[in-house]
């Protein structure tokens, strides 16, 4: 006589089938774990069904029913693990399928922009700092003494015509025409050795496409024993190469400034045509950028330095001009308009 299947056994088998189907259909890890918790494990439906079947089974069959139940639980665990693995694989595959249009702009967390004059000034300051020059600053509204007289330009000196000056109304004060007053203030305040650069805003009563009534200048001053004109040349050459590149050359041409002697104009080989001649350098291959020279003994007299013991050199050039040359800025007036479209071109 065929043995009829025990009803409890049928219940477990059906449950296992359902559980296996649901595990295989779980679309997410969370859903999978919920299905697993519902059927498998100590609290699950299968365990409960197996327990109920054992309880209901005759004594001699309890063992057999228990074995069937354990096998069912193991199947569920196996199915769960397999589905978990396959879900993980699917997720990894999906993750790796993600793409982005790398040409889209990034989310904006961008820094702003520093003015080209700041870039140029910092580069200049760094180069001279490496040569041991420290920074010195001074007021922009100056006395006639610091701006002219102490620089060997007494009243009615023809050289005063070289620098058209803004004066303050109802006063003898003026807007400094160069940062040389800072040199005077530095020398009045300390004894040699002096090795400073003086960057700052200066003013001249000039207004055309290449001159702005306000601009920036940096002057350097080195006073010590045994300072020579050759040293001046070496420092300017070092600067020019560090700022514009190692192929740059420097030319000193005799000139006249009341506060230096010998005096020189300071020319750079043209940064646009490398000396071949172009419109910017008027086909000379040279660009005039500043003035330089050995400090005049008359200046030392005003600051009470012994010109027999100490010699020194001074130089000065426009930061605006350096920035314009380096960054190819066409018109000096653009530097003072605050136009975002220009400023944004600088980091």
């Amino acid at each position: 006589m065929p043995q009829a299947p025990e009803p409890e056994k049928l219940d477990v088998v059906a449950l296992v089938d359902t559980a296996e189907r649901e595990l295989a259909a779980a679309a997410t890890e969370q859903a999978l774990r919920e299905v697993h918790a519902r059927y498998g494990g100590r609290e699950g439906a299968i365990k409960r069904a197996v327990q109920a079947a054992i309880n209901a089974a005759p004594k001699d069959r309890k063992r057999e029913v228990g074995q069937v139940g354990n096998a069912a639980l193991q199947r569920i665990e196996g199915a769960f693990e397999a589905r978990l693995r396959s879900l993980g694989d699917e997720a990894r595959t999906r993750d790796l399928a993600r793409t982005v249009d790398v040409t889209l702009p990034g989310r904006s967390h961008r820094p702003g922009h520093l003015h080209p004059i700041t870039h140029a000034r910092r580069a200049i300051e760094r180069i001279f700092a490496q040569l041991g020059f420290t920074l010195a600053t001074g007021p922009q509204v100056e006395t006639d003494f610091h701006n002219f007289e102490a620089l060997a330009m007494p009243p009615d000196h023809p050289a005063r015509d070289m620098q058209d000056t803004f004066y303050l109304a109802n006063s003898d004060l003026l807007l400094r025409t160069h940062t040389s007053p800072v040199q005077i203030r530095t020398m009045l305040a300390q004894r040699p050795p002096v090795r400073v650069i003086c960057p700052g805003t200066v003013y001249r009563r000039d207004d055309d496409p290449t001159h702005s009534p306000m601009f920036h200048q940096v002057e350097g001053l080195l006073v010590d024993e045994q300072v020579t004109f050759a040293d001046l040349k070496g420092v300017l050459l070092h600067f020019a190469r560090a700022f514009f590149g190692p192929a740059t050359t420097v030319r000193l041409r005799p000139s006249f400034f009341p506060f230096t002697e010998p005096s020189a104009e300071f020319d750079l080989s043209c940064v646009f045509c490398a000396g071949a001649g172009c419109r910017t350098c008027k086909n000379t291959g040279w660009i005039e950028v500043g003035g330089a020279g050995m400090v005049d003994p008359e200046v030392f007299r005003h600051v009470d330095y012994d010109s027999e013991r100490y010699t020194g050199f001074a130089f000065g050039f426009g930061i605006d001009r350096m920035a314009m040359l380096k960054y190819r800025i066409s018109d000096i007036r653009l530097l003072y308009e605050g136009d975002h479209r220009l400023l944004e071109q600088f980091p």
Binding site: T118, F166, G234, L252
Partner: protein, 832 residues
């Protein structure tokens, strides 16, 4: 100054150098050649031709057929110029085969059916200038067949020299030629003929005129010569062309002679019509205040007591060294001339020229310093000779010479080794002596110091260093090597203010703002528009601004930033975030006279030297470095459309700046109208910093709508301006403890009276708690419906932690309860 290379060559022997070499060496020696114009370059085969007969061209009204004679034969040439001279006139004929400066070689050419062998030339065709008004008419004494180029002084090169103010000697060809003798060993100056003998008249000059020198300080030397029987006419064409090429207008042969004299020696001369001088007298004196004179340019001018006047017996006839008077001007009717050659004191001439705005060729030279010795006498002799040569005048014997205190050549000792030590390169003593000698100095001494005598045409050489410079520049700067200075000691002290400014720059850069710079002088009304109620409303003004809108020194950076904002908006840039770091200027009160010296040194920069202030009582202004910014438009980004900026953006920028610059003890509070009248009354804050009591650091806020409307700024704009001074005393950075035990957070949400500032609640939390580590506000909401009227909802997150143990939940709950009790007690917060 313009110089003719041909003229230089006329003054020199042994100069074997091309025009270009001359230009290059002059530049390298400090006489910068700023321009070179070649006149008649490539011109050849042009001759003088005499017009014999003229006929109209049969087919063209505007063309003339000209029979020209070249000394041998007569040829017919076609000419299109309107000014063909009558028979006997001399013209320039470019025959077939002739070459013109424009590169064209002439060939016979048919002009409207008539064959023309070459052409008659205009100035521009000869490379003489731009004039094409007609053909060039030569002087009547030109010989037919002669080389026209040689006659016209072609080819020539005109050099435009930039003569520095210390070199008055190079404002004449003679000085430049002397310079060339130093630059080109072998070149020597030719002696200049000053012989008047052939033209001398019977009587001595003293019978014809008198000179009284009353102001020897203003005029150390005055000389006069008299010329008789002058017939004023036109200068010969070569003279007129030479003057023209040097930028001087030819007037008549007498005035032209004085101008040639000025261009030759660099010494200005003046010719008076002797018969227009009352009493035939010259009196050199200070002008009387208000004394009038009509100058050569036709202007009536009033003189002052500082002006030096050349007068006749009655009135001023010239402003000494600046400009002659119209009344005594030499004209066609003049027959007797008084020729002035004088030395005037530079500073006096300069003051007069500046005051009158009259900068003449003469004043420019006297200002810089003329030669009282040879300059005065040689130029007088040369000029008298020239006038006699061209006008047929006779010259009265002798000169009147008033020179009460002769000026001697200066003696200077030069130590050749000092030159070498200063230059950092060897230059032999003999080479140094050669250079100085070629410049006109006399030098003595073989070994050791050179004793040098400086001629008076070099007023710029007064000290040893001046001679060293002469040696250096003639020797050549390019022959000095480039070395680096030896390093000794420390060059100077650090500059905390500059470093602080750069830190602020970096901070604002990192916060996304762009740096701008604007002029320190602005329109006064731009300052007034901000409505300052303190000293900032009264800016310092410039005495001589370029224009009204640049006449006031800024007392704030905001006007410049707002102008930049307007500039950007007008160019379609709507999202603006700018900052500027710069100096502002405020008046300091004028100190009482007695202590003016002390007042100069107070605060800011010191005017160390009492000389700078004494008697003037004008203290330097209070210069303050400020940092300011302006924001307008939308927040950056594209992923989410940018939201409009609000107050929190500008505050965030200021907080970021303070964080970076590590300024401790700053406090924000609502600003008053006096502190920031230009901001919206409900959206403005003042920032203070604790240092010896609270110091105002600056303000921030939203621009007042009325001001915005006035400036045409459509969207809200936000701004801040802070004083940078406290930034340079930033707190040093020191590492603090790192927490070792975990903490615990509690969030707290409640309603509270809307007027209570968040900072007050935060302070109360910190006060009440024993364990608080940090307090953060997470939300501030006020929407009607979400909160009861007059209240706001706040959400806080408070973090508790103990440094020495892990806190239990009970401890944290107890402390949090303490906090909430305190808030209820102090602010009646409602935690429902």
């Amino acid at each position: 100054m313009k110089v003719s290379v041909n003229w230089l060559r006329e003054l020199l022997d042994g100069l074997a150098a091309t025009d270009s070499e001359i230009a290059a060496r002059l530049t390298a020696a400090g006489l910068e050649v700023e321009g070179e114009t070649r006149l008649g370059a490539g011109l050849s085969g042009v001759i003088v031709a005499e017009v014999r007969e003229t006929r109209r061209h049969p087919k063209a009204d505007k063309l003339t057929l000209v029979d020209v004679f070249d000394g041998h034969e007569v040829t017919q040439v076609v000419c299109g110029a309107p000014n063909v001279p009558a028979p006997g006139g001399k013209v320039v004929w470019a025959r077939p085969g002739a070459t013109l400066p424009n590169g064209i070689t002439l060939a016979p050419k048919e002009v409207r059916g008539v064959l023309s062998p070459g052409m008659l030339c205009a100035e521009d065709e000869l490379g003489l200038g731009a004039s094409h008004e007609g053909i060039l008419i030569l002087d009547s004494d030109a010989a037919p067949g002669a080389d026209a180029a040689a006659l016209l002084g072609l080819p020539d090169t005109i050099l435009e020299l930039n003569v520095t103010p210390n070199r008055p000697d190079c404002l004449g060809h003679l000085g430049v030629a002397r310079e060339l003798t130093a630059l080109f060993p072998g070149a020597r100056l030719r002696p200049l003929s000053a012989d008047l003998e052939p033209w001398l008249s019977e009587g001595p000059v003293t019978e014809l005129a008198t000179v009284t020198l009353e102001d020897a300080e203003g005029c150390p030397r005055y000389t006069a010569r008299v010329l008789l029987g002058v017939k004023v006419g036109q200068s010969p064409l070569p003279v007129r062309l030479r003057l023209q090429s040097l930028g001087v207008r030819a007037i008549n042969d007498v005035v032209d002679a004085t101008n040639l004299g000025l261009l030759e020696t660099g010494h200005p001369l003046h010719a008076f019509d002797l018969d227009r001088l009352a009493g035939h007298a010259i009196v050199v004196r200070r002008a009387r205040p208000g004394e009038p004179i009509t100058t050569l340019d036709g202007q009536e001018r009033a003189l002052t007591g500082d002006d030096l006047a050349i007068c006749d017996a009655e009135r001023p006839v010239a402003i000494a060294g600046v400009m002659g008077g119209r009344h005594s001007e030499v004209g066609p009717a003049t027959t007797r001339i008084l020729l002035e050659s004088a030395h005037f004191a530079g500073p006096r001439i300069r003051r007069t020229a500046r005051r009158l705005g009259l900068h003449s060729e003469a004043s420019q030279r006297f200002e810089r310093g003329t030669d009282p010795n040879d300059g005065v006498t040689l130029s007088s002799l040369r000029c008298a000779r020239r006038i006699a040569l061209s006008t047929g005048a006779r010259i009265a014997r002798g000169a009147i010479d008033r020179y009460p205190h002769p000026i001697d050549p200066r003696a200077i000792v030069l130590r050749p080794d000092r030159t070498e030590r200063l230059l950092g390169t060897p230059v032999s003593p003999s080479e140094q002596a050669r250079i100085l000698t070629s410049l006109g100095l006399t030098c003595e001494g073989d070994e050791g110091p050179l004793r040098c005598l400086v001629p008076t045409f070099r007023p710029d050489l007064t000290r040893e260093i001046d001679l060293i410079e002469e040696v250096a520049r003639v020797h050549g700067y390019d022959r000095v090597p480039a070395t680096l200075p030896r390093a000794t000691g420390v060059g100077g002290a650090p500059d905390p203010a500059a470093e602080a400014a750069d830190s602020a720059r970096d901070a604002l850069w990192a916060l996304g703002l762009a740096e701008t710079l604007s002029f320190a002088f602005i329109a006064p009304e731009r300052i007034a528009a901000l409505g300052f109620t303190d000293g900032r409303s009264d800016p310092l003004l410039l005495q001589n601004p370029l224009r009204e809108e640049q006449s006031a020194l800024r007392t704030s950076l905001l006007p410049g930033l707002l102008a930049a904002l307007q500039h950007n908006l007008s160019r379609g840039v709507a999202d603006v975030a700018l900052f500027e770091i710069g100096t502002t200027f405020r008046r300091r009160p004028r100190a009482p006279q007695a202590v003016s010296g002390a007042s100069c040194s107070e605060g800011g920069f010191a005017a160390e030297d009492a000389r700078t202030c004494e008697g003037k009582g004008e203290p330097l202004p209070d210069e303050r470095q400020m940092v300011a910014g302006v924001l307008s438009g939308r927040r950056g980004g594209w992923l989410k459309p940018g939201a409009e900026l609000d107050f929190s953006d500008v505050k965030g920028v200021v907080e970021g700046l303070l964080d970076r610059c590590r300024i401790p003890g700053t406090t924000f509070r609502a600003a008053t109208s006096d502190e920031a009248p230009f901001f919206h009354p409900g959206l403005r804050a003042a920032l203070t910093v604790e240092s010896n009591g609270d110091t105002a650091l600056g303000v921030l806020g939203e621009l007042h709508p009325a001001l915005r409307e006035r400036l045409g700024i459509a969207l809200p704009a936000f701004a801040f301006e802070l004083d940078l001074a406290p930034f340079s005393t930033a707190a040093p950075t020191v590492m603090g403890p790192l927490a070792r035990f975990p903490g615990s957070s509690r969030d707290s949400s409640f309603f509270v009276d809307a007027a209570i500032p968040a900072a007050a609640i935060q302070a109360a939390i910190v006060r009440a708690s024993l364990l608080v580590e940090s307090v953060h506000i997470r939300e501030d909401y006020r929407e009607p419906g979400r909160v009861p009227p007059g209240k706001k909802g706040l959400l806080w997150s408070i973090h508790y932690r103990a440094p020495d143990r892990t806190l239990t939940d009970d401890e944290v709950n107890a402390d949090h309860a303490r906090v909430m009790d305190a808030l209820k007690a102090e602010f009646q917060v409602d935690t429902r």
